[in-house]
């Protein structure tokens, strides 16, 4: 009965094959899952490694580490306040400049520009995002900071600051509180907190504007057209229809830019001047978390190294939270679209 034999052996072969396939399938699944878990591991690992590295500093200084402005390698006393302040203030300046400009670019690209111009301009702006941060740093250090020191800073110090060159206080510096302090400086160079903020702003503009442009395009055309039909102007449609509809995603885009600005190292390190002291003036040099680490880590040892690791942990946690908010906000619009 050769026919039955072949039938049996065919089933055998088929069974064998399906067992083999199932084995391969299991193996393949585990391999893929393992690779995906590496993503998770690298996030947890980065947080864990910096926390572990910073344990000495956290243990020695406790909560005092966060509020102390002392950073004295000679006496082995470290506080995070100066770099934390620098990181926060430069990112804040960056957003202050970048958000309105990005909004303008997004409105221009989605409502104002003629159709043929949109793609090339959008790609050009996105090109800014592709330029490595060290190039921004070089440009900032050698081109923009000297330009700022020659052309912009003298105007700011003499018209707004409390330490003008000719000794005559301007009306603004005399009558508006804080402004004089913010723009008063007798430091002769360009590298300063304000310049770092401006360079950061240029860096985050492409990120914020591309998110805004993308979400502006998700606004249903009938919504915009209804507004136009009721006699709205382009600006009213952008401000009263498009912006409210996309609000959460726009905030998400801004937080995404903030996350980038907080963690940026090279561009900031070049133009911040690296001064470990607290100054109210935006025209004085300062430091940030990332640039403190970049400058000091290679030569640091012992408690100083631990303090730098602790700084890195703070930076990681703060950017994680900011980016988390960003992604949650961006996701809200996506779920509204039913995606």
């Amino acid at each position: 009965m050769p026919a039955i034999d072949t039938a049996i052996s065919t089933t055998d072969i088929l069974e064998q094959r399906s067992r083999r396939d199932a084995r391969h399938e299991r193996l393949f699944r585990w391999l893929l899952k393992g690779c995906a878990l590496i993503v998770l591991a690298s996030l947890l690992g980065a947080a864990g490694a910096t926390l572990w590295g910073g344990r000495d500093a956290f243990g020695t200084f406790g909560w005092h580490f966060l509020v102390s402005s002392e950073w004295d390698p000679g006496n082995d006393v470290y506080g995070a306040l100066v770099p934390v302040y620098g990181t926060v203030i430069t990112s804040f300046i960056a957003l202050l400049i970048a958000v309105p400009i990005s909004f303008g670019i997004a409105v221009y690209l989605s409502e104002v520009a003629p159709a043929w111009l949109r793609t090339p301009v959008a790609s050009a702006i996105e090109l800014l995002a592709g330029i490595p941060s060290i190039i921004y740093g070089m440009w900032g250090l050698f081109i923009f900071a000297p330009f700022f020191a020659d052309h912009i800073k003298p105007w700011l110090t003499s018209n707004l600051g409390n330490k003008p060159d000719d000794g005559k206080l301007s009306w603004v510096a005399e009558h508006v509180p804080f402004v004089g302090k913010l723009f008063g400086s007798d430091y002769p160079f360009g590298a300063s907190i304000l310049v770092a903020g401006i360079v950061l702003a240029i860096m985050v503009i492409p990120f914020i504007s591309s998110v805004m442009r993308e979400v502006f395009q998700t606004v249903p055309t009938r919504l915009k057209e209804s507004a136009y039909a009721l006699g709205s102007s382009t600006w009213e449609v952008s401000w009263d229809i498009v912006l409210p509809y996309t609000r959460s995603a726009v905030i998400g885009g801004i937080f995404l830019g903030l996350g980038r600005a907080l963690g940026e190292t090279m561009a900031v390190t070049f133009v911040l001047g690296n001064a470990m002291h607290l100054s109210a003036s935006l025209l004085d040099p300062g430091t940030s978390i990332a640039s403190t680490i970049a400058n000091q880590f290679s030569e640091a040892a012992g408690l100083q190294k631990s303090a730098l690791m602790a700084l890195a942990f703070l930076l990681f946690v703060v950017t994680f939270i900011v980016l988390l908010i960003a992604r949650l906000m961006l996701r809200r619009l996506a779920s509204k679209e039913g995606r």
């Binding site: 391969h24 996030l43 800014l128 993308e214 401000w239 994680f320």
Partner: protein, 288 residues
């Protein structure tokens, strides 16, 4: 006469002018940065850049840094590509709409913008420190550690593009293969990844563009080296690291070398993004 209308018109005109101005500001800075990089870079270009190492200082070139950058980037992409493609495949094909899959996709997006300097410190802790301890101090920083740090930065880019590209592959393709009895792993490897190939290659190129300018994570991993190093277990120079070092040097000749390095990196990155755009022009996907 019609003051509310007039006011609205003026507001509108003003807003349109301002938004155009904002775009012009963005483009002006782009032009300024690119122009200076080109101008300063081209005037510093010299044959010795490609023939001499940095040990000669002002009279030297950038040969060891360029070779170092190539080696470190190669290691970084070499590690990140298989892991990233497989992880992206898992997200798109196996864990789509599962809770773990969604969480990893979400965390991957966060990793995409995580501060690179922290990634450098992470790799310092898990590779540089243990290797120093194991070899009693003879091995410390290494090109390999730099490559791993860059791999961690490239990884989320590749994961995300692979994930997005695979989800663009029509499900009829999957159904057709499955109905013929093809096991899912074979379907994934031989059909889906092939169908999404151009998109995945784009992701790898974008990741390469992203890491080739990274400086911060290399400072504490590959460190730097004034002489030629090919062995990835040695300290290794890289273009971004030498730019950082030379730009902080007071000498003008060093600055010229730094500009030359900046020029080389910028050209490389622009060519890569151009290439990825050309490949991508057939398919459409978002990158932020």
């Amino acid at each position: 006469m019609n003051s509310p209308y007039l006011r609205r018109r003026i507001t509108n005109a003003l807003a349109m002018v301002l938004s155009t101005l904002a775009t012009l500001i963005g483009l002006a800075f782009l032009a300024w940065i690119l122009w200076e990089t080109l101008r300063q870079g081209i005037s510093a270009l010299d044959l010795k850049l490609f023939t001499k190492v940095t040990a000669y200082g002002e009279d030297g070139g950038l040969l060891n840094s360029m070779v170092g950058s190539l080696v470190i980037n190669f290691i970084g992409i070499g590690i990140a590509t298989p892991i990233g493609v497989l992880a992206g495949t898992w997200l798109a094909e196996y864990a789509n709409r599962t809770r773990l899959g969604e969480s990893i996709r979400f965390l991957n997006d966060i990793l995409l913008s995580a501060p690179s300097i922290v990634m450098g410190l992470f790799v310092y802790t898990i590779i540089v420190l243990p290797s120093t301890a194991l070899t009693h101090g003879s091995t410390t920083f290494s090109g390999f550690a730099g490559g791993v740090a860059l791999a961690l930065i490239a990884l989320p880019v590749i994961v995300r593009t692979t994930d997005e590209m695979l989800r663009l592959v029509p499900s009829t393709l999957r159904e057709a293969a499955l109905s013929l009895g093809v096991p899912q792993w074979k379907l994934t490897l031989q059909i889906l990844i092939r169908a999404a190939r151009s998109g995945i290659i784009t992701g790898v190129l974008l990741a390469l563009a992203r890491i080739s300018g990274e400086t911060a994570p290399l400072l504490f991993t590959a460190f730097g080296n004034n002489y030629m190093a090919i062995n990835p277990m040695d300290k290794m120079s890289s273009l971004p690291q030498i730019i950082y070092q030379y730009a902080n040097d007071p000498g003008d000749a060093m600055h010229a070398l730094a500009w030359a390095g900046a020029f080389v990196i910028t050209m490389f990155v622009l060519l890569l993004s151009l290439a990825s755009r050309l490949i991508l022009s057939r398919t459409k996907v978002s990158h932020d």
